[in-house]
């Protein structure tokens, strides 16, 4: 197939960028979106031009590095997948495809389609862990966890930190990412000890960089891991509780 690309090109973090147009003939429907970009880059290389810089690593939807805005949709038109899992058969022959980096004040463009997502790292650093090292993995079933709880925590833990939630949000809010990172710990018994300090610190750090949630639900649609906005509600509830909770009674109930 033959597609026409409009790609954001920007040489560096402080240089202004523009949309450039590239003709891409001879693309196979079986190619993934990133393989298509690889082909375009090979040709640019051969012509002595600077290839399009984009982030990628696993190419199987588990590392979260490959995010880009494709035709105004984070990770493109396919639901529940990352850009690397999107295939060219999703596009019509002759399609015009707009490719842009994530846009948010917290995600400055470093080069072309690569943005700096270290604001996410700041959020996780502020509380997305269990502080005390507790040794080797305990015996299975030593701590009983209801199936629903384990499933919900696993759903939250599916977050790969790609940033699609922020990119798709009209408010550039980091709620879905932060809620996932809080809840994969806060839902489990092991996360209870630091539950309220965690939510307080991580939400406060999130709000240093990101906008606020107006419950559009765009993040949930964009998420390559189908993470639900239910987690945002749990985070909101824990944040309010954190204001009121008598920390001395945390081990009760």
């Amino acid at each position: 197939m033959h597609v026409k690309l409009h790609v954001w090109r920007q040489a560096g973090p402080t240089t202004p960028g523009t949309m450039e147009t590239y003709d891409a003939p001879g693309i196979s429907e079986e190619m993934s979106f990133l393989e298509m970009l690889d082909v375009v880059n090979e040709r640019l290389n051969a012509d002595g031009q600077e290839p399009i810089a984009f982030e990628h690593d696993c190419r199987e939807g588990i590392c979260g590095s490959c995010g880009m805005m494709i035709n105004g949709q984070a990770h493109g038109p396919q639901r529940g997948t990352a850009t690397c899992q999107l295939h060219m058969r999703k596009f019509q022959d002759g399609a015009e495809i707009f490719i842009e980096p994530w846009r948010a004040a917290a995600f400055p463009v470093l080069k072309d389609l690569i943005v700096d997502r270290s604001a996410f790292d700041r959020i996780v650093e502020s509380g997305g862990y269990i502080t005390a090292p507790t040794g080797a993995a305990p015996d299975a079933n030593l701590t009983l966890i209801p199936k629903e709880v384990a499933d919900a925590a696993m759903d939250a833990a599916a977050c790969i930190g790609c940033g699609a939630c922020v990119a798709a949000c009209p408010n550039s809010a980091g709620q879905l990412f932060t809620a996932a990172k809080i809840n994969h710990l806060n839902l489990l018994p092991q996360g209870q000890a630091e539950r309220y300090t965690r939510v307080q610190k991580m939400v406060d750090t999130m709000e240093e960089f990101f906008g606020s949630c107006t419950n559009h639900g765009e993040c949930q649609e964009a998420c390559p891991k189908d993470i639900s906005i239910d987690f945002i509600a749990y985070m909101n509830r824990d944040y309010v509780k954190a204001q009121l909770k008598n920390r001395k009674l945390l081990s009760q109930d």
């Binding site: 402080t14 805005m69 917290a106 550039s172 240093e208 559009h216 945002i232 909101n236 204001q243």
Partner: protein
């Protein structure tokens, strides 16, 4: 901090400027309600709670005003009942004013939070996309909250001036609610304002009465699917009732002529307090 610098030096080969926070951390200590309100999650909680207060008011206001369909006597006596609320305990109208005060505070907080959050979201948005976002879930109601909110806010001011204080209503007579309402809504431009504003209110309520569940963290798979239904039902009911009043007056379903409680002089309403029952009991 030191670790972060070292990390960065190892892990990157690219110049990477520090990301400027859109809301720099504030120093100093403030009591927790203040820090809570400063946070966006806290502001959304306040918007939800104040929203519920106003929803309660809007609901009873709409349902109470249905008495207009029973005639001038019922409506005017209902208005009097509101003024006499809790009267042996409090002097007349005081209970009403306490509720009005509460509502005013709620609305002020609702608007103040909305303003703060909007500013924050604009700061967070960066430079925007060349190709507009292709929205999947956001609907017209959720995307227009700001504008429907402004429409409703301006309408409240107009509505107070029109029917509560009477400054904008040339036919205003204090305490004759029925007459004031009919006189005002029988002017088509005014009726149109009421219709448009109440459709705006309905749209605002539709997103708000769903969104509040999320903001308050009221989320349970057992009844999550009811939340949208509640929002549609609540917003729809309030909108239908409120829009029915101007339409009823315009179409003559509610009118002062042919109304035994009212005295009219041609098209001018003189008085709507000539209740039938009053004459029976001297």
């Amino acid at each position: 901090m030191a670790l972060r610098e070292a990390d960065r030096a190892m892990a990157t080969t690219m110049e990477r400027p520090e990301i400027p926070p859109i809301n720099p951390k504030r120093g100093g200590t403030a009591p927790w309600p203040v820090t809570f309100y400063r946070s966006a999650v806290g502001k959304k909680w306040v918007m939800a709670v104040t929203g519920i207060m106003v929803m309660g008011f809007v609901f009873f206001h709409a349902v109470g005003n249905l008495k207009v369909y029973l005639g001038a006597e019922d409506l005017n006596h209902y208005a009097e009942f509101l003024q006499q609320l809790l009267v042996p305990i409090l002097p007349p109208t005081i209970a009403l004013w306490i509720m009005r005060g509460g509502l005013l505070v709620a609305i002020v907080f609702h608007i103040h939070s909305a303003y703060g959050l909007t500013r924050m979201n604009h700061r967070a948005n960066g430079s925007g996309y060349e190709q507009r976002r292709h929205y999947q879930a956001a609907n017209a109601a959720s995307r227009s909250m700001r504008w429907t909110g402004i429409v409703v806010g301006l309408f409240i001011l107009f509505h107070l001036a029109d029917l509560t204080f009477g400054t904008l209503n040339p036919d205003f007579v204090r305490d004759d609610v029925y007459r004031n309402l009919v006189a005002s809504l029988s002017r088509p431009p005014v009726a149109l304002i009421y219709i448009i504003a109440n459709i705006g209110l309905g749209i605002h309520l539709f997103h708000g009465s769903w969104s509040m569940f999320q903001s308050l963290g009221l989320n349970n798979p057992r009844w999550n699917s009811w939340r949208k239904g509640f929002a549609i039902g609540f917003a729809g009911l309030v909108m239908v009732i409120n829009v029915s009043f101007p339409i009823a007056v315009l179409t003559g379903v509610v009118s002062a002529t042919n109304n035994p409680d009212c005295v009219t002089d041609g098209s001018v309403i003189v008085d709507c307090t000539q209740y039938e029952n009053q004459e029976a009991t001297p």
